[in-house]
Symmetry: C2
Subunit: 203 residues, 2 copies
DNA sequence: CCACGATTATGACAGTTGTCATATTCCAGT
DNA sequence: ACTGGAATATGACAACTGTCATAATCGTGG
């Protein structure tokens, strides 16, 4: 199977964004890092850097949500949570705590562009909307899994938000501490919270 | 009381970092935003941008930890949590969901500097250490408050990590969604978790 | 008043950034 | 074989970045 230049650029951009943030990821870095032709940037991404980052966000979103949904279906809520945490732990350890979440990077780091204020602002909100959509997607997967196991609707929504938000925050904190201790602690507490919440409905 | 040029620069840098991230915050932006003399940068911060960002991180850390510790002492764990969440909600709403946490920005966004690889790497780790220290500070405040109300040591540590991490993640998510809904949901669940954990020790 | 250090002003430096225009190469369809 | 569009190569553009050197200014102790 052949990975197209376009896909390599998107994946490389997502990787660099997860390591250094949006603004520290230049298009020249992307082509250097992925060994792709620089001249193809404006061909594959006519709207420039913003388009590349936008596609990297949705790419990274699916890369997480697809295995997450599968784990939730196959192993239930607790198993899905464990798979979710394990994938982030793997990412942290495999990169020496260099890479985090590229979607969080878009939410935190503002892409400074070329356009004139108005375009800049709307393009910025478009990127934020994409990041928000990814987070909403992950939350939705968690929420339906909780619903399926009998939890009430509002409680499921709140717990899904808590899980996604706390793990996003924990991954960033683990990068700062170069340790997975915080992830271990959060995982244990989240498992406890979800278990007791589910046990309450069953009893 | 007079605010010195140096302090204005530090506060302005923290503000800009919380809005756009580290790399999108240029020193020229800082002097523009704070109406401070540009020529004073290298005088007050001889080590350049990195030093300014470092001081902004510890400044922002204290700006949160001091009122947080006071609230914990005066109003207990639940009251302190509410004050913590309320301060972030205020920050989000007062800025139209533009400003988040500058410490998280340092953990996510890597400062691209001038030095030659080795210096760059160590300087980067220094910034990460500072951010890690701030997070550890906040966690410690939460942890001792939980300990004081009778919770076990390991549980206090885990819950403190969960609180700080989930709120950091939630604030970033709220910026993406331009809504405090996620913060409301997380606050409610965190209050439930802490209340039941504390009630368990009392009963 | 004067001098001296702290502070600020101004401009320059090399390097990088995103973007674009142009030229060249590639390759399937007829 | 040829053609037409897709893909890539190459170089240039202005704008911006962090940093630094130098000069001007300020404020205060002598």
């Amino acid at each position: 199977m052949t990975t197209t230049t376009r896909d390599k650029m998107i994946a490389g951009a997502a990787d660099l964004m997860s390591r250094r943030g949006v603004n520290a990821t230049s298009m020249r870095d992307v082509v250097r890092h992925t060994a792709t032709p620089r001249g193809s940037i404006s061909h594959h991404f006519p709207d420039g850097k913003r388009q590349l980052i936008a596609e990297a966000v949705t790419f990274a979103g699916k890369q997480v949500s697809i295995p997450l949904e599968k784990a939730m279906n196959e192993r239930g809520v607790i198993g899905g949570l464990r798979a979710f945490v394990a994938s982030w732990r793997r990412q942290l350890e495999a990169t020496g705590f260099e890479a985090g979440c590229p979607v969080l990077a878009v939410a935190v780091d503002r892409c400074v562009g070329e356009a004139s204020d108005r375009d800049d602002e709307t393009a910025q909100q478009h990127l934020l909307d994409l990041a928000d959509g990814v987070f909403a997607d992950w939350r939705q997967i968690m929420r339906t899994a909780l619903l399926r196991e009998g939890l009430a609707a509002e409680r499921s929504e709140r717990l899904a938000t808590l899980v996604v938000a706390s793990i996003e925050g924990t991954v960033a904190m683990c990068r700062a501490s170069r340790s997975t201790d915080a992830l271990d602690q959060v995982q244990e507490e989240l498992e406890t919270v979800l278990s007791t919440a589910l046990a309450r409905t069953a009893g």
